[in-house]
Protein backbone atom coordinates (compact mmCIF):
# COMPACT_ATOMS: atom_id res chain seq x y z
CA UNK A 1 0.00 0.00 0.00
CA UNK A 2 2.88 2.35 0.69
CA UNK A 3 3.89 2.31 -2.93
CA UNK A 4 3.64 4.82 -5.70
CA UNK A 5 -0.13 5.01 -5.49
CA UNK A 6 -0.31 6.24 -1.92
CA UNK A 7 -0.95 9.89 -2.62
CA UNK A 8 -3.15 9.03 -5.56
CA UNK A 9 -5.33 7.02 -3.19
CA UNK A 10 -5.67 9.85 -0.70
CA UNK A 11 -5.87 12.93 -2.87
CA UNK A 12 -7.60 11.41 -5.89
CA UNK A 13 -8.28 14.00 -8.56
CA UNK A 14 -6.57 16.68 -6.49
CA UNK A 15 -3.19 15.01 -6.75
CA UNK A 16 -2.13 17.04 -9.81
CA UNK A 17 -2.97 20.25 -7.95
CA UNK A 18 -0.80 19.13 -5.07
CA UNK A 19 1.96 18.37 -7.54
CA UNK A 20 1.56 21.78 -9.19
CA UNK A 21 1.78 23.48 -5.82
CA UNK A 22 4.96 21.58 -5.01
CA UNK A 23 6.49 22.57 -8.36
CA UNK A 24 5.39 26.18 -7.85
CA UNK A 25 6.92 26.18 -4.38
CA UNK A 26 10.19 24.74 -5.66
CA UNK A 27 10.42 27.23 -8.54
CA UNK A 28 9.58 30.19 -6.35
CA UNK A 29 11.93 29.02 -3.61
CA UNK A 30 14.75 28.49 -6.09
CA UNK A 31 14.32 31.99 -7.51
CA UNK A 32 14.52 33.57 -4.08
CA UNK A 33 17.48 31.58 -2.78
CA UNK A 34 19.59 31.37 -5.95
CA UNK A 35 20.41 35.06 -6.12
CA UNK A 36 21.28 35.01 -2.46
CA UNK A 37 23.70 32.15 -3.11
CA UNK A 38 25.17 33.44 -6.38
CA UNK A 39 25.59 37.13 -5.77
CA UNK A 40 28.56 38.73 -4.05
CA UNK A 41 28.16 40.10 -0.58
CA UNK A 42 29.95 43.26 0.36
CA UNK A 43 27.95 44.79 3.11
CA UNK A 44 28.56 48.32 4.26
CA UNK A 45 26.53 50.19 6.86
CA UNK A 46 25.40 52.72 4.28
CA UNK A 47 24.34 50.06 1.81
CA UNK A 48 22.29 48.12 4.29
CA UNK A 49 20.54 51.12 5.75
CA UNK A 50 16.89 51.71 4.92
CA UNK A 51 16.43 53.60 1.67
CA UNK A 52 14.08 56.50 2.11
CA UNK A 53 15.22 58.76 -0.71
CA UNK A 54 18.54 59.41 0.92
CA UNK A 55 17.05 60.94 4.01
CA UNK A 56 18.14 59.27 7.22
CA UNK A 57 15.14 57.24 8.41
CA UNK A 58 13.43 58.65 11.45
CA UNK A 59 11.97 56.21 13.91
CA UNK A 60 10.37 52.90 13.16
CA UNK A 61 8.41 52.40 9.96
CA UNK A 62 5.72 50.35 11.65
CA UNK A 63 3.40 52.97 12.96
CA UNK A 64 -0.28 53.15 13.55
CA UNK A 65 -2.27 53.16 10.37
CA UNK A 66 -5.58 54.79 9.43
CA UNK A 67 -8.48 52.64 10.54
CA UNK A 68 -9.97 52.98 7.04
CA UNK A 69 -7.77 50.14 5.87
CA UNK A 70 -9.04 47.96 8.68
CA UNK A 71 -12.61 48.84 7.74
CA UNK A 72 -11.94 47.88 4.13
CA UNK A 73 -10.56 44.54 5.27
CA UNK A 74 -13.47 43.71 7.56
CA UNK A 75 -16.04 44.74 4.94
CA UNK A 76 -14.19 42.55 2.47
CA UNK A 77 -14.44 39.58 4.82
CA UNK A 78 -18.17 40.13 5.32
CA UNK A 79 -19.01 40.59 1.65
CA UNK A 80 -16.73 37.70 0.70
CA UNK A 81 -18.66 35.40 3.01
CA UNK A 82 -21.91 36.61 1.46
CA UNK A 83 -20.65 35.50 -1.95
CA UNK A 84 -19.29 32.22 -0.57
CA UNK A 85 -22.80 31.15 0.43
CA UNK A 86 -23.94 31.52 -3.16
CA UNK A 87 -21.33 29.33 -4.85
CA UNK A 88 -23.09 26.07 -4.01
CA UNK A 89 -26.40 27.53 -5.24
CA UNK A 90 -24.81 28.53 -8.52
CA UNK A 91 -23.91 24.97 -9.39
CA UNK A 92 -27.43 23.56 -8.87
CA UNK A 93 -29.69 26.42 -9.91
CA UNK A 94 -29.65 26.13 -13.68
CA UNK A 95 -30.37 22.43 -14.02
CA UNK A 96 -32.80 22.20 -11.11
CA UNK A 97 -36.56 21.64 -11.13
CA UNK A 98 -38.88 24.66 -11.37
CA UNK A 99 -39.96 24.18 -7.75
CA UNK A 100 -36.39 24.36 -6.57
CA UNK A 101 -35.65 27.32 -8.82
CA UNK A 102 -38.58 29.36 -7.53
CA UNK A 103 -38.16 28.42 -3.86
CA UNK A 104 -34.42 28.87 -3.69
CA UNK A 105 -34.71 31.88 -5.98
CA UNK A 106 -36.95 33.60 -3.43
CA UNK A 107 -34.57 32.61 -0.61
CA UNK A 108 -31.58 33.99 -2.48
CA UNK A 109 -33.64 37.04 -3.46
CA UNK A 110 -34.24 37.91 0.19
CA UNK A 111 -30.59 37.28 0.87
CA UNK A 112 -29.51 39.60 -1.91
CA UNK A 113 -31.96 42.32 -0.82
CA UNK A 114 -30.29 42.27 2.59
CA UNK A 115 -26.97 42.40 0.77
CA UNK A 116 -28.06 45.48 -1.15
CA UNK A 117 -29.26 47.12 2.06
CA UNK A 118 -25.86 46.45 3.60
CA UNK A 119 -24.01 47.84 0.61
CA UNK A 120 -26.28 50.88 0.37
CA UNK A 121 -25.70 51.53 4.07
CA UNK A 122 -21.94 51.35 3.61
CA UNK A 123 -22.13 53.82 0.75
CA UNK A 124 -24.66 56.05 2.50
CA UNK A 125 -22.66 56.62 5.67
CA UNK A 126 -19.58 57.22 3.60
CA UNK A 127 -17.62 54.40 5.19
CA UNK A 128 -15.47 54.13 2.10
CA UNK A 129 -14.90 57.83 1.52
CA UNK A 130 -11.20 58.44 1.45
CA UNK A 131 -11.18 62.17 0.92
CA UNK A 132 -12.45 63.37 4.26
CA UNK A 133 -13.37 66.98 4.63
CA UNK A 134 -10.74 68.90 6.51
CA UNK A 135 -11.41 69.05 10.22
CA UNK A 136 -9.67 72.38 10.51
CA UNK A 137 -11.46 75.53 9.52
CA UNK A 138 -10.07 76.73 6.19
CA UNK A 139 -9.21 80.10 7.70
CA UNK A 140 -6.61 78.43 9.82
CA UNK A 141 -5.02 76.90 6.76
CA UNK A 142 -4.13 80.33 5.46
CA UNK A 143 -0.47 80.91 6.05
CA UNK A 144 0.28 83.74 8.38
CA UNK A 145 2.28 86.48 6.72
CA UNK A 146 5.90 85.54 7.04
CA UNK A 147 8.25 88.21 8.16
CA UNK A 148 11.67 88.30 6.73
CA UNK A 149 13.93 86.36 9.09
CA UNK A 150 16.37 88.51 10.88
CA UNK A 151 19.80 87.02 10.83
CA UNK A 152 22.23 88.26 13.36
CA UNK A 153 25.51 88.94 11.74
CA UNK A 154 28.22 86.44 12.39
CA UNK A 155 26.05 83.74 13.99
CA UNK A 156 26.18 80.38 12.28
CA UNK A 157 24.14 77.53 13.59
Amino acid sequence: MLGRGIFQAVFGEFLPILLLMLVAAVVAGAMVTLSWVLGPKKDTPYKSSTYECGVTPVGNAIERFPIKFYLVAILFVLFDIEVVFLWSWITVFKGATIQYQVFSGVAVGIYLVLWIIGDAYVIKVGALEWDEEPQVAPEKLLPTPVEAPTIAAGSHS
Binding site: E13, L20, A25, V27, S35, T91, A120, E129
Partner: protein, 461 residues
Protein backbone atom coordinates in the same frame (compact mmCIF):
# COMPACT_ATOMS: atom_id res chain seq x y z
CA UNK B 1 3.27 5.55 -31.79
CA UNK B 2 -0.06 7.17 -31.10
CA UNK B 3 0.31 9.83 -28.43
CA UNK B 4 -3.31 9.60 -27.34
CA UNK B 5 -3.16 5.89 -26.61
CA UNK B 6 0.18 6.17 -24.90
CA UNK B 7 -1.16 8.90 -22.60
CA UNK B 8 -4.25 6.86 -21.84
CA UNK B 9 -2.12 3.86 -20.93
CA UNK B 10 0.11 6.04 -18.80
CA UNK B 11 -2.93 7.46 -17.03
CA UNK B 12 -4.01 3.97 -16.06
CA UNK B 13 -0.65 2.52 -15.13
CA UNK B 14 0.93 5.56 -13.53
CA UNK B 15 -1.40 8.50 -12.91
CA UNK B 16 1.29 10.40 -11.02
CA UNK B 17 3.48 10.48 -14.12
CA UNK B 18 0.60 11.77 -16.22
CA UNK B 19 -0.09 14.42 -13.59
CA UNK B 20 3.56 15.40 -13.70
CA UNK B 21 3.39 15.78 -17.48
CA UNK B 22 0.37 18.06 -17.13
CA UNK B 23 2.11 20.16 -14.51
CA UNK B 24 5.22 20.52 -16.64
CA UNK B 25 3.10 21.49 -19.65
CA UNK B 26 1.59 24.29 -17.59
CA UNK B 27 4.63 25.58 -15.71
CA UNK B 28 7.23 25.36 -18.46
CA UNK B 29 5.47 27.72 -20.91
CA UNK B 30 5.04 30.28 -18.14
CA UNK B 31 8.71 30.07 -17.19
CA UNK B 32 9.75 30.44 -20.82
CA UNK B 33 7.23 33.10 -21.73
CA UNK B 34 7.63 35.49 -18.80
CA UNK B 35 10.93 36.92 -20.15
CA UNK B 36 9.23 37.16 -23.54
CA UNK B 37 6.40 39.14 -21.97
CA UNK B 38 8.87 41.53 -20.39
CA UNK B 39 10.44 42.05 -23.82
CA UNK B 40 6.98 42.52 -25.32
CA UNK B 41 6.11 45.12 -22.72
CA UNK B 42 9.30 47.10 -23.25
CA UNK B 43 9.10 47.00 -27.02
CA UNK B 44 5.39 47.70 -27.25
CA UNK B 45 5.56 50.49 -24.69
CA UNK B 46 8.46 52.14 -26.45
CA UNK B 47 6.65 51.85 -29.77
CA UNK B 48 3.60 53.52 -28.25
CA UNK B 49 5.76 56.25 -26.73
CA UNK B 50 7.69 56.82 -29.94
CA UNK B 51 10.94 55.40 -28.60
CA UNK B 52 13.04 52.52 -29.85
CA UNK B 53 13.28 50.26 -26.82
CA UNK B 54 15.69 47.38 -26.33
CA UNK B 55 16.64 46.24 -29.85
CA UNK B 56 20.38 45.49 -29.68
CA UNK B 57 21.05 42.62 -27.32
CA UNK B 58 21.78 39.48 -29.27
CA UNK B 59 22.61 41.23 -32.53
CA UNK B 60 25.76 39.62 -33.92
CA UNK B 61 27.95 41.14 -36.61
CA UNK B 62 30.10 38.46 -38.22
CA UNK B 63 33.60 39.53 -39.32
CA UNK B 64 34.23 39.71 -43.06
CA UNK B 65 36.67 36.79 -42.88
CA UNK B 66 34.16 34.51 -41.14
CA UNK B 67 34.59 30.89 -42.36
CA UNK B 68 30.92 30.50 -43.28
CA UNK B 69 30.79 32.60 -46.44
CA UNK B 70 27.09 33.41 -46.40
CA UNK B 71 27.38 34.92 -42.91
CA UNK B 72 30.57 36.88 -43.44
CA UNK B 73 30.12 40.58 -42.87
CA UNK B 74 26.40 40.15 -42.17
CA UNK B 75 24.38 41.30 -39.17
CA UNK B 76 22.04 38.81 -37.50
CA UNK B 77 19.32 40.62 -35.58
CA UNK B 78 17.22 39.22 -32.77
CA UNK B 79 15.29 42.47 -32.13
CA UNK B 80 16.47 42.57 -28.55
CA UNK B 81 14.81 39.28 -27.69
CA UNK B 82 17.81 38.29 -25.61
CA UNK B 83 17.52 41.42 -23.47
CA UNK B 84 15.35 39.81 -20.75
CA UNK B 85 17.71 36.81 -20.65
CA UNK B 86 20.66 39.13 -20.15
CA UNK B 87 18.70 41.00 -17.49
CA UNK B 88 17.90 37.72 -15.79
CA UNK B 89 21.54 36.63 -15.70
CA UNK B 90 22.53 40.04 -14.40
CA UNK B 91 19.89 39.95 -11.69
CA UNK B 92 20.96 36.50 -10.54
CA UNK B 93 24.58 37.57 -10.24
CA UNK B 94 23.92 40.93 -8.60
CA UNK B 95 24.62 41.52 -4.98
CA UNK B 96 21.65 40.69 -2.83
CA UNK B 97 21.64 43.70 -0.55
CA UNK B 98 19.84 42.83 2.64
CA UNK B 99 18.92 45.86 4.71
CA UNK B 100 19.79 45.62 8.36
CA UNK B 101 16.53 46.84 9.88
CA UNK B 102 14.34 44.11 8.42
CA UNK B 103 12.41 41.16 9.76
CA UNK B 104 14.60 38.61 8.01
CA UNK B 105 12.30 35.58 7.86
CA UNK B 106 9.35 37.56 6.55
CA UNK B 107 11.61 39.50 4.20
CA UNK B 108 12.72 36.29 2.49
CA UNK B 109 9.26 34.75 2.59
CA UNK B 110 7.51 37.69 0.91
CA UNK B 111 8.86 37.28 -2.66
CA UNK B 112 8.21 33.56 -2.37
CA UNK B 113 4.61 34.24 -1.42
CA UNK B 114 4.29 36.69 -4.31
CA UNK B 115 5.47 34.18 -6.91
CA UNK B 116 3.92 30.98 -5.57
CA UNK B 117 0.23 31.83 -6.23
CA UNK B 118 1.06 33.08 -9.71
CA UNK B 119 2.43 29.69 -10.68
CA UNK B 120 -0.20 27.65 -8.85
CA UNK B 121 -3.05 29.67 -10.37
CA UNK B 122 -3.57 27.75 -13.58
CA UNK B 123 -4.45 24.31 -12.24
CA UNK B 124 -8.03 24.34 -13.49
CA UNK B 125 -7.43 26.32 -16.67
CA UNK B 126 -7.96 24.40 -19.93
CA UNK B 127 -5.48 25.48 -22.63
CA UNK B 128 -6.88 23.16 -25.30
CA UNK B 129 -10.15 21.45 -26.11
CA UNK B 130 -11.20 18.83 -23.59
CA UNK B 131 -14.08 17.71 -25.79
CA UNK B 132 -14.29 15.31 -28.72
CA UNK B 133 -12.05 15.50 -31.73
CA UNK B 134 -13.82 17.12 -34.69
CA UNK B 135 -16.33 14.86 -36.51
CA UNK B 136 -15.82 12.04 -34.00
CA UNK B 137 -17.06 11.12 -30.58
CA UNK B 138 -13.62 10.19 -29.26
CA UNK B 139 -12.01 12.45 -26.67
CA UNK B 140 -8.77 13.77 -28.11
CA UNK B 141 -5.33 13.62 -26.49
CA UNK B 142 -5.74 17.16 -25.16
CA UNK B 143 -8.41 16.01 -22.74
CA UNK B 144 -5.75 13.97 -20.94
CA UNK B 145 -3.27 16.85 -20.83
CA UNK B 146 -5.39 19.76 -19.73
CA UNK B 147 -6.50 21.09 -17.35
CA UNK B 148 -4.06 19.96 -14.68
CA UNK B 149 -7.03 18.84 -12.56
CA UNK B 150 -10.60 19.03 -13.81
CA UNK B 151 -12.17 19.33 -10.38
CA UNK B 152 -15.70 20.36 -9.53
CA UNK B 153 -14.68 23.60 -7.83
CA UNK B 154 -12.79 24.82 -10.92
CA UNK B 155 -13.09 28.56 -10.89
CA UNK B 156 -13.22 28.80 -7.09
CA UNK B 157 -9.69 27.46 -7.05
CA UNK B 158 -8.52 30.37 -9.18
CA UNK B 159 -10.22 32.84 -6.85
CA UNK B 160 -8.85 31.17 -3.72
CA UNK B 161 -5.28 31.06 -4.98
CA UNK B 162 -5.33 34.60 -6.33
CA UNK B 163 -6.61 35.76 -2.95
CA UNK B 164 -3.41 34.39 -1.43
CA UNK B 165 -1.48 36.82 -3.64
CA UNK B 166 -2.17 39.66 -1.22
CA UNK B 167 0.27 38.24 1.32
CA UNK B 168 3.40 38.62 -0.75
CA UNK B 169 2.88 42.33 -1.20
CA UNK B 170 1.72 43.26 2.27
CA UNK B 171 4.47 41.21 3.91
CA UNK B 172 7.13 42.69 1.64
CA UNK B 173 5.97 46.10 2.76
CA UNK B 174 5.95 45.10 6.40
CA UNK B 175 9.25 43.24 6.50
CA UNK B 176 11.25 45.99 4.79
CA UNK B 177 10.76 48.32 7.75
CA UNK B 178 10.61 51.22 5.35
CA UNK B 179 7.80 53.74 5.51
CA UNK B 180 7.28 53.83 1.77
CA UNK B 181 7.32 50.06 1.50
CA UNK B 182 4.80 49.67 4.27
CA UNK B 183 2.53 52.24 2.67
CA UNK B 184 2.80 50.42 -0.64
CA UNK B 185 2.16 47.05 0.95
CA UNK B 186 -0.94 48.20 2.81
CA UNK B 187 -2.25 49.99 -0.26
CA UNK B 188 -1.63 46.87 -2.33
CA UNK B 189 -3.51 44.53 -0.06
CA UNK B 190 -6.43 46.93 0.43
CA UNK B 191 -6.65 47.26 -3.34
CA UNK B 192 -6.43 43.52 -3.94
CA UNK B 193 -9.16 42.64 -1.49
CA UNK B 194 -11.42 45.42 -2.76
CA UNK B 195 -11.30 44.19 -6.32
CA UNK B 196 -11.42 40.51 -5.43
CA UNK B 197 -15.10 40.95 -4.55
CA UNK B 198 -16.05 42.31 -7.94
CA UNK B 199 -13.97 39.60 -9.57
CA UNK B 200 -15.68 36.86 -7.58
CA UNK B 201 -19.20 38.10 -8.25
CA UNK B 202 -18.56 38.65 -11.96
CA UNK B 203 -17.31 35.08 -12.26
CA UNK B 204 -20.31 33.92 -10.23
CA UNK B 205 -22.59 35.39 -12.92
CA UNK B 206 -20.90 33.26 -15.57
CA UNK B 207 -20.98 30.17 -13.37
CA UNK B 208 -24.66 30.77 -12.70
CA UNK B 209 -25.41 30.96 -16.41
CA UNK B 210 -23.27 27.89 -17.10
CA UNK B 211 -24.48 25.87 -14.16
CA UNK B 212 -20.97 24.65 -13.49
CA UNK B 213 -17.80 25.87 -11.84
CA UNK B 214 -15.58 23.86 -14.16
CA UNK B 215 -13.77 26.01 -16.67
CA UNK B 216 -13.76 23.36 -19.44
CA UNK B 217 -17.58 23.26 -19.14
CA UNK B 218 -17.71 27.01 -19.47
CA UNK B 219 -15.69 26.92 -22.69
CA UNK B 220 -17.80 24.09 -24.08
CA UNK B 221 -20.99 26.01 -23.42
CA UNK B 222 -19.56 28.84 -25.45
CA UNK B 223 -19.39 26.52 -28.43
CA UNK B 224 -23.20 26.40 -28.58
CA UNK B 225 -25.23 28.51 -31.01
CA UNK B 226 -25.19 32.26 -30.37
CA UNK B 227 -28.19 33.27 -28.17
CA UNK B 228 -29.57 29.85 -29.08
CA UNK B 229 -30.51 31.34 -32.45
CA UNK B 230 -27.58 32.00 -34.76
CA UNK B 231 -26.49 28.46 -35.44
CA UNK B 232 -23.22 29.07 -37.20
CA UNK B 233 -21.75 31.38 -34.63
CA UNK B 234 -20.41 30.37 -31.23
CA UNK B 235 -22.03 31.79 -28.14
CA UNK B 236 -18.96 33.46 -26.65
CA UNK B 237 -20.10 34.93 -23.38
CA UNK B 238 -18.76 38.33 -24.24
CA UNK B 239 -21.44 38.53 -26.95
CA UNK B 240 -24.28 38.07 -24.48
CA UNK B 241 -25.56 41.14 -22.60
CA UNK B 242 -24.93 39.75 -19.11
CA UNK B 243 -21.60 38.31 -20.23
CA UNK B 244 -20.48 41.68 -21.54
CA UNK B 245 -21.21 43.32 -18.19
CA UNK B 246 -19.40 40.52 -16.37
CA UNK B 247 -16.49 40.72 -18.78
CA UNK B 248 -16.06 44.45 -18.26
CA UNK B 249 -16.19 44.11 -14.47
CA UNK B 250 -13.82 41.15 -14.54
CA UNK B 251 -11.37 42.88 -16.85
CA UNK B 252 -11.14 45.97 -14.66
CA UNK B 253 -10.73 43.80 -11.56
CA UNK B 254 -8.06 41.84 -13.40
CA UNK B 255 -5.98 44.95 -13.98
CA UNK B 256 -6.37 45.93 -10.34
CA UNK B 257 -5.56 42.44 -9.08
CA UNK B 258 -2.28 42.38 -10.95
CA UNK B 259 -1.31 45.89 -9.79
CA UNK B 260 -1.00 47.17 -13.32
CA UNK B 261 -1.47 50.72 -14.50
CA UNK B 262 -3.80 52.55 -14.01
CA UNK B 263 -4.14 50.66 -10.72
CA UNK B 264 -0.44 50.61 -9.85
CA UNK B 265 -0.75 52.76 -6.75
CA UNK B 266 1.16 50.30 -4.57
CA UNK B 267 4.27 51.02 -6.61
CA UNK B 268 3.51 54.62 -7.49
CA UNK B 269 7.08 55.74 -8.04
CA UNK B 270 6.45 59.46 -7.72
CA UNK B 271 5.18 59.13 -4.17
CA UNK B 272 6.39 55.78 -2.79
CA UNK B 273 9.83 55.27 -4.40
CA UNK B 274 9.07 51.75 -5.64
CA UNK B 275 6.40 50.79 -3.15
CA UNK B 276 6.56 47.44 -1.46
CA UNK B 277 9.71 46.28 -3.25
CA UNK B 278 11.84 49.33 -2.52
CA UNK B 279 14.17 47.39 -0.23
CA UNK B 280 14.50 44.37 -2.49
CA UNK B 281 17.44 43.86 -4.79
CA UNK B 282 18.79 41.35 -7.30
CA UNK B 283 16.57 38.39 -8.17
CA UNK B 284 14.28 38.89 -5.17
CA UNK B 285 13.28 42.19 -6.74
CA UNK B 286 12.67 40.53 -10.08
CA UNK B 287 10.61 37.78 -8.45
CA UNK B 288 7.86 40.32 -7.75
CA UNK B 289 7.80 41.18 -11.44
CA UNK B 290 7.82 37.54 -12.46
CA UNK B 291 4.82 36.99 -10.22
CA UNK B 292 3.09 39.99 -11.72
CA UNK B 293 3.69 38.88 -15.30
CA UNK B 294 2.82 35.25 -14.65
CA UNK B 295 -0.41 36.30 -12.94
CA UNK B 296 -1.17 38.70 -15.78
CA UNK B 297 -0.63 35.94 -18.33
CA UNK B 298 -2.66 33.30 -16.50
CA UNK B 299 -5.50 35.63 -15.58
CA UNK B 300 -5.67 36.72 -19.22
CA UNK B 301 -6.03 33.01 -19.91
CA UNK B 302 -8.89 32.81 -17.41
CA UNK B 303 -10.52 35.78 -19.10
CA UNK B 304 -10.10 34.13 -22.49
CA UNK B 305 -11.51 30.83 -21.25
CA UNK B 306 -14.48 32.34 -19.46
CA UNK B 307 -15.49 35.09 -21.87
CA UNK B 308 -13.64 34.73 -25.16
CA UNK B 309 -14.31 31.15 -26.15
CA UNK B 310 -11.04 29.77 -24.77
CA UNK B 311 -9.07 27.81 -27.33
CA UNK B 312 -11.34 28.59 -30.30
CA UNK B 313 -9.78 30.91 -32.85
CA UNK B 314 -12.92 32.60 -34.14
CA UNK B 315 -16.53 32.31 -32.97
CA UNK B 316 -17.57 30.13 -35.89
CA UNK B 317 -19.03 26.64 -35.52
CA UNK B 318 -17.09 24.96 -38.30
CA UNK B 319 -18.48 21.49 -37.73
CA UNK B 320 -22.04 22.74 -37.89
CA UNK B 321 -21.23 24.68 -41.06
CA UNK B 322 -19.75 21.56 -42.63
CA UNK B 323 -22.91 19.62 -41.79
CA UNK B 324 -25.19 22.33 -43.18
CA UNK B 325 -23.31 23.01 -46.41
CA UNK B 326 -21.95 19.68 -47.69
CA UNK B 327 -20.60 21.41 -50.79
CA UNK B 328 -18.07 23.28 -48.65
CA UNK B 329 -17.58 20.43 -46.19
CA UNK B 330 -13.92 20.00 -47.15
CA UNK B 331 -12.96 23.55 -46.30
CA UNK B 332 -15.09 23.81 -43.15
CA UNK B 333 -13.87 20.40 -41.99
CA UNK B 334 -10.27 21.46 -42.45
CA UNK B 335 -10.95 24.63 -40.48
CA UNK B 336 -12.56 22.60 -37.69
CA UNK B 337 -9.48 20.39 -37.49
CA UNK B 338 -7.17 23.39 -37.58
CA UNK B 339 -9.22 24.97 -34.82
CA UNK B 340 -9.00 21.85 -32.71
CA UNK B 341 -5.40 20.77 -33.19
CA UNK B 342 -3.85 24.21 -32.97
CA UNK B 343 -6.06 25.08 -29.98
CA UNK B 344 -3.10 25.66 -27.62
CA UNK B 345 -1.71 28.17 -30.08
CA UNK B 346 -4.95 30.15 -30.27
CA UNK B 347 -5.15 30.08 -26.50
CA UNK B 348 -1.59 31.36 -26.15
CA UNK B 349 -2.45 34.04 -28.68
CA UNK B 350 -5.39 35.17 -26.60
CA UNK B 351 -3.24 35.25 -23.47
CA UNK B 352 -0.61 37.31 -25.28
CA UNK B 353 -3.37 39.57 -26.61
CA UNK B 354 -4.57 40.07 -23.05
CA UNK B 355 -1.08 41.03 -21.94
CA UNK B 356 -0.77 43.41 -24.88
CA UNK B 357 -4.04 44.97 -23.77
CA UNK B 358 -2.58 45.49 -20.28
CA UNK B 359 0.44 47.20 -21.82
CA UNK B 360 -1.79 49.37 -23.98
CA UNK B 361 -3.67 50.44 -20.85
CA UNK B 362 -0.40 51.32 -19.18
CA UNK B 363 0.63 53.49 -22.10
CA UNK B 364 -2.75 55.22 -22.24
CA UNK B 365 -4.26 55.81 -18.83
CA UNK B 366 -2.99 57.95 -15.97
CA UNK B 367 -2.88 56.50 -12.49
CA UNK B 368 -6.00 56.68 -10.35
CA UNK B 369 -6.20 58.50 -7.04
CA UNK B 370 -6.72 56.26 -4.05
CA UNK B 371 -10.24 57.50 -3.34
CA UNK B 372 -11.15 56.98 -6.99
CA UNK B 373 -9.77 53.45 -6.78
CA UNK B 374 -11.83 52.60 -3.73
CA UNK B 375 -15.01 54.18 -5.02
CA UNK B 376 -14.67 52.44 -8.38
CA UNK B 377 -14.26 49.06 -6.74
CA UNK B 378 -16.88 49.32 -4.02
CA UNK B 379 -19.46 51.71 -5.43
CA UNK B 380 -19.44 50.88 -9.11
CA UNK B 381 -18.05 47.46 -9.92
CA UNK B 382 -19.44 45.53 -6.96
CA UNK B 383 -23.05 46.81 -7.26
CA UNK B 384 -22.84 46.35 -11.03
CA UNK B 385 -21.68 42.76 -10.66
CA UNK B 386 -24.35 41.94 -8.07
CA UNK B 387 -27.07 43.55 -10.22
CA UNK B 388 -25.85 41.44 -13.10
CA UNK B 389 -26.02 38.37 -10.89
CA UNK B 390 -29.65 39.09 -9.98
CA UNK B 391 -30.53 39.67 -13.62
CA UNK B 392 -28.99 36.36 -14.69
CA UNK B 393 -30.83 34.49 -11.93
CA UNK B 394 -34.15 36.08 -12.93
CA UNK B 395 -33.47 35.31 -16.57
CA UNK B 396 -32.95 31.63 -15.75
CA UNK B 397 -36.06 31.36 -13.55
CA UNK B 398 -38.31 33.12 -16.05
CA UNK B 399 -36.93 31.11 -18.95
CA UNK B 400 -37.89 27.88 -17.25
CA UNK B 401 -41.27 29.33 -16.22
CA UNK B 402 -42.38 31.11 -19.40
CA UNK B 403 -39.88 30.13 -22.08
CA UNK B 404 -37.31 32.35 -23.81
CA UNK B 405 -39.65 35.32 -24.22
CA UNK B 406 -40.34 35.37 -20.49
CA UNK B 407 -36.61 35.14 -19.84
CA UNK B 408 -35.76 38.12 -22.01
CA UNK B 409 -38.73 40.06 -20.63
CA UNK B 410 -37.50 39.42 -17.10
CA UNK B 411 -34.02 40.36 -18.20
CA UNK B 412 -35.15 43.72 -19.56
CA UNK B 413 -37.45 44.46 -16.63
CA UNK B 414 -34.87 43.56 -14.00
CA UNK B 415 -32.21 45.62 -15.73
CA UNK B 416 -34.53 48.63 -15.81
CA UNK B 417 -35.51 48.28 -12.15
CA UNK B 418 -31.93 47.83 -10.99
CA UNK B 419 -30.66 50.78 -13.00
CA UNK B 420 -33.42 52.99 -11.55
CA UNK B 421 -32.65 51.68 -8.06
CA UNK B 422 -28.97 52.40 -8.46
CA UNK B 423 -29.62 55.89 -9.80
CA UNK B 424 -31.90 56.59 -6.84
CA UNK B 425 -29.36 55.34 -4.32
CA UNK B 426 -26.66 57.32 -6.04
CA UNK B 427 -28.80 60.46 -5.97
CA UNK B 428 -29.68 59.92 -2.32
CA UNK B 429 -26.08 59.42 -1.27
CA UNK B 430 -24.58 62.13 -3.43
CA UNK B 431 -22.80 64.69 -1.39
CA UNK B 432 -24.22 68.18 -1.37
CA UNK B 433 -22.07 71.22 -1.93
CA UNK B 434 -18.99 71.22 0.24
CA UNK B 435 -19.67 72.29 3.81
CA UNK B 436 -16.57 74.38 4.02
CA UNK B 437 -16.31 77.62 2.05
CA UNK B 438 -14.13 77.55 -1.03
CA UNK B 439 -10.44 77.77 -0.48
CA UNK B 440 -8.82 81.16 -0.46
CA UNK B 441 -5.42 81.71 -1.85
CA UNK B 442 -3.02 83.85 0.01
CA UNK B 443 -0.24 85.35 -1.97
CA UNK B 444 3.26 85.30 -0.66
CA UNK B 445 3.10 88.79 0.78
CA UNK B 446 0.03 87.87 2.82
CA UNK B 447 -2.52 89.74 0.72
CA UNK B 448 -5.62 88.13 -0.65
CA UNK B 449 -5.59 86.72 -4.17
CA UNK B 450 -7.55 88.73 -6.75
CA UNK B 451 -11.17 87.68 -7.32
CA UNK B 452 -10.55 86.39 -10.81
CA UNK B 453 -8.02 83.88 -9.53
CA UNK B 454 -10.29 82.84 -6.68
CA UNK B 455 -13.16 82.00 -9.00
CA UNK B 456 -11.00 79.73 -11.04
CA UNK B 457 -9.95 77.89 -7.90
CA UNK B 458 -13.46 77.35 -6.58
CA UNK B 459 -14.40 73.73 -6.25
CA UNK B 460 -17.18 72.80 -8.63
CA UNK B 461 -19.87 70.97 -6.69
Amino acid sequence: MDVGHWLEGLGQSNPVALAAIRVVLLVLPILVLVPGLIWLERRLLSWMQDRIGPNRTGTVTFPSNFPLKFLAGKKVRTFGLLQPIADGVKLFLKEDVTPSAIDKLVYFLAPFLALFPAFALGATLPWASTGFMPFTSIPGPYSLLTPVANVEIGILYVLAISSLGAYGLVLAGYASNNKYSLMGGIRASAQLISYELGMGVSLACVALATGSLKMPDMVMQQEAALWGVAEHIQNWFVFTPWGLVSAIVFLICLVAETNRAPFDLPEAENELIAGYHTEYSSMKFAVFFMGEYAAMFLLSGVFAAVFLGGYNLVPVRWEHLADTYPAMAGFYGAMAKLNYWLGPLWFLGKCAGGVAFFIWLRATLPRLRYDQLMSLGWKTLLPLAVANFIVVALYIVFTSLYGPAGGWGAWGGATLVLVLLYLNIAAATRKGPLASPPRRIALVDGTEAPASLREREQVKT
